[in-house]
Amino acid sequence: MERMEEYKALLAELSELHPGADTLERARRRRRRGMLLRPLATVAAVFALFVGLVNLSAPVAEACAGVPVLRELAQAVTFNRSLQAAVENDYAQKVNITKKQNGFTVTVEYLMVDRKQVNVFYRVTSKKYDWVETQAEFISPDGEAQGYFVLDLSAGGEPAGELWSCSVTFQEEVPPQLGMKLRIYDLSPERDYYTGGAHSPPPPAEDMWEYMESDERPHEKPLLAELDFQLEFDPYFTAQGRHIPTDAAFTVDGQTVRVSSVDVYPSHMEINVEGAAENTAWLKSLRFSLATEAGERFAAAPGGIVSFGSPDTPETVCYWAESPFFYEAESVTMEITEGEWLQKDTPATRIDLVHATAENLPQGVELLGAERRGDRWVLSLRRSHPGYYAQTFMEAHDSAGNAVEIGGWAWAAEGNGVDIESLALNDASLTEVYLTPRYTSRWTAEEPISIRIKLK
């Protein structure tokens, strides 16, 4: 056969070739499974932090009060304007799945789902227990943990019989089905030990270590029941969300940061930023709020998630906010009031543990003391900027560069907001330690920096 005939025959053969129908889907399924291996690494690289959750909104509660089905659901989401708007717009999947075990009846009543987040609303009833804690774990059909951020609002105890909620956030997309293992714990031993009761504020930082180390403290909550639910999501809901490229920027302290895109979901909004290559510092945090042209306002950090860092650099590249998904807004204005930088190539903070002195502390941080307690050192810091339960230092190493385990953090409020931070180093033999700061300097804008982000 002549070469050209061979060539034409080969092209004809190729034109008949088609990949298997499920080739792309197999890759997507594998992507979802692969995602599960990353949560720990991702969480270690970022600082997703809890903030105060309760922000009651009377108008929404009133708006929903006339609709019996929605009344309780509206009450359950008063901490989050995005979810409030979702309730107002009937954006909820009614499910009613009931499971019973050991005298407990648990009913999953509603799901609120979009492309990134699953919110589960459930009710626990018991004749014997009136105050329990639940912990939700989300798993795939083959038992692997799912999602990378689980928030269970019943932590610390909830009265039985009320509608509770928990959520799981996905780095990529919500799968079509999800298993939920709900464990119910008896909180009464812990509540009895801590005489203030389960709703008391946490003890001051100094007392916290004593509390944590106390032999009398109940270290394990008795497990009362463990129930498995299989959740299936309406594809309409799991498809909700949109990615909007944008191009806005601001400059502070000579550092330029670009808002490159936003992702708007019913449950939340993600604002994606990137620092200019020539910047001498990484952007570590922002404080901001959002407002539509009609004056509707949205807070940052809905449901306790503040921001996420890049897996490749120390930069924080994604900020969460309440979502304008259900609002007819052409644009939102981001009003930035504060931020934190981490100087590139900054030296570690050195702490002389014996003499309780420090070098290269981040701006506005003071070392109050270093105390050897049992088999570890406990450092106390005061921050001049009260705020989140945020770690000032994420990693520690000794003078030879060996990693030192940080045994935990504790926070307390002396003034308005959390301003005392305490961390434990699990090595009492150290005489000095080097700590990697989360940030090196902070700034506060004299006037809020306004950036307009187009949504349409």
């Binding site: 056969m1 092209l11 190729l14 070739l17 990949p19 594998r30 990529e172």
Partner: protein, 154 residues
């Protein structure tokens, strides 16, 4: 690029990618695996693709790297034979498909993308990360070895 957009764009070019994989690997099962692996890698990295106009080029490059890895594995097992450019007569003796498979790697890349997968010379150069002039030279050498008169213009 978000995952939904990735899925849409990948769906559009999956046949082309699959055929490219087939040209490299020569069997449907391995091509299916290679495509699935490339799509998986693309899915994992699509958030970092800033210029969406390069999606096809980018995905094709990922696919070729997957195919090369598979060919390396086969080579370790002695299952792949390439002929040197000096063995012109040996190429003549082979059917076209085997002759293409026996081309030195850098020539094979260009001829597969250009004449079988249907990319332009500029796209071929972008996918392979080489200057367009280099791609043109390799294309000329490959066509000469294969004794194919397909025209070399863009």
């Amino acid at each position: 690029m978000d995952m939904a957009e990735f899925a849409r764009r990948a769906e559009e070019i999956k046949d082309r990618l699959y055929r490219t994989a087939y040209l490299y690997l020569g069997d449907v099962s391995a091509s299916d695996e290679a495509l699935s692996e490339a799509v998986y890698k693309g899915l994992c990295a699509c958030g970092r693709l800033r210029q969406e106009e390069y999606f096809t080029t980018w995905m094709t490059r990922i696919l070729i790297n997957v195919c090369r890895d598979e060919l390396k594995r086969r080579r370790r097992e002695g299952a792949v034979e390439e002929l040197p450019e000096t063995a012109a007569e040996s190429f003549d003796a082979l059917p076209l498909r085997q002759a293409v498979a026996a081309l030195p790697g850098e020539l094979k890349d260009v001829v597969l993308l250009r004449y079988f997968a249907g990319y332009t010379l500029r796209q071929t150069a972008e996918i392979l990360g080489i200057p367009q002039g280099t791609a043109a030279t390799r294309q000329r050498r490959a066509l000469a070895l294969l004794r194919l008169d397909l025209g070399e213009e863009e």
